[in-house]
Symmetry: C2
């Protein structure tokens, strides 16, 4: 399963246009995080030219974290390359990566930011990679529905003529962790760190959290690895709770 996730979209027209573009090119799962004007939205319905009725019901979430909790692989479209270490995909390579995941039974998502603002760094930090759409440097501002269209079009384009790739499918016996499970681990880890000397100044806590999250998200860890991490954390917490070192 592959879904499109719009974060904080403002204009209903853009949501509708995005839905129409998705369904034109065979993507049918739309998720929306915190739409400015609520949901459902009449302007979105009108602009979708019937797409919103024809596709499965849109799912609305309060945060991007919740919206990606049941996905394995999430990529953020963003015009600016961030101050974060993430793999950067072109649209066709992003589609290829998602198709490889799908063949392994994994679910994936393409994430799009709001009009003008785009995605904030904390949203990007939740994603395993960045999709960079090449545009005219002198006129680069893409409408949100345009960015969705590019990815949907690339999706259909790859279905029509599958990319021949010699890359071996990997990790078949050890699927990647669900995003929600990873977030659970991160929450647990961060809660454990709070109040320690590690969180020296309160103002750096959010940045520190993001940096930690980036490490684990970028690592694209497996279920087995996540169980190991949880076990390690449990062991450390257990140890700190009173038992003396061996």
């Amino acid at each position: 399963m592959v879904c499109v996730i719009l974060v904080n979209p403002q204009m209903g027209e853009n949501i509708g246009a995005a839905a129409r573009a998705m369904l034109n090119f065979g993507l049918a799962e739309l998720r929306i995080v915190n739409p400015r004007d609520g949901w459902p939205n009449e302007k979105a319905d009108a602009m979708s030219a019937g797409a919103l009725e024809a596709m499965p019901p849109v799912r609305v979430f309060g945060t991007l974290q919740e919206a990606v909790a049941d996905l394995h692989f999430v990529l953020a479209t963003t015009a600016r390359l961030r101050d974060m270490v993430k793999p950067v995909y072109t649209p066709p390579l992003a589609v290829q990566a998602v198709q490889e995941r799908e063949q392994q039974g994994q679910s994936a998502g393409f994430v799009f930011g709001a009009e003008r603002m785009g995605l904030v760094n904390d949203d990007v930090a939740l994603c395993q990679g960045i999709i960079n759409i090449t545009t005219n440097p002198d006129f680069s501002s893409l409408n949100i529905a345009t960015a969705v269209l590019v990815m949907a079009y690339e999706w259909m384009r790859a279905q029509a003529a599958p990319v021949q790739t010699g890359a071996e499918l990997h990790r078949k016996d050890s699927p990647p962790a669900l995003q929600g499970d990873l977030e659970g681990y991160l929450e647990r880890l961060l809660a454990a760190l709070e109040g320690t000397a590690f969180f020296r100044a309160p103002e750096v806590v959010p940045i520190m959290k993001r940096n930690i999250r980036n490490i684990f998200v970028r690592a694209d860890i497996t279920e087995q690895e996540l169980r190991t991490l949880q076990g390690i954390l449990s062991a450390l917490l257990d140890r700190g709770s009173g038992r003396s070192p061996p």
Copy 2:
């Protein structure tokens, strides 16, 4: 030079969205044939997000024939495959064909029909080939700006990573005829045919004209060949005007 030609567009919003999509992906020459609401158009300006101001002035024409008169190679985007013998291109192959023309100093155009109606057969007959954009068969109706976007995106995509083609560039010493020159020839030919037994019933004349035009357009003839055709026509007319056969 590559231009986008919109035929009989109705909504200014769609013209504006098409202009924005074009400039986002590096296409800057927009021509409009017979826009329903005239030109300039405030809604188009607003929707273009500055693209119409940033690109060269839009050129407006009364007919598609006039709009393509100074072009060498013209392709029509159309959802339905017509009852005409034309080469059918995918979007990437269309871009590749146009790039090869451009490398030979030729000018080209992508033609798009009106909302709902699309292009009429007489418009398609003016074009050397058809571009077919693969869509979801259950939801295939593309917004006009979406179709423009797909071609503009493919244009930028090919610039970013040029298609490696082993196909040899041909006809370097014998450029293809300008569309306007070919039309001049066709008009002359058709005028010559009118009133002859060849045009038996008046109701079939338009179809016959279209079929003749298709033959020559499909042949993608060179300047030299056109001069030859004109010479042949002159000779025949001259002969019919009184001189006896040798």
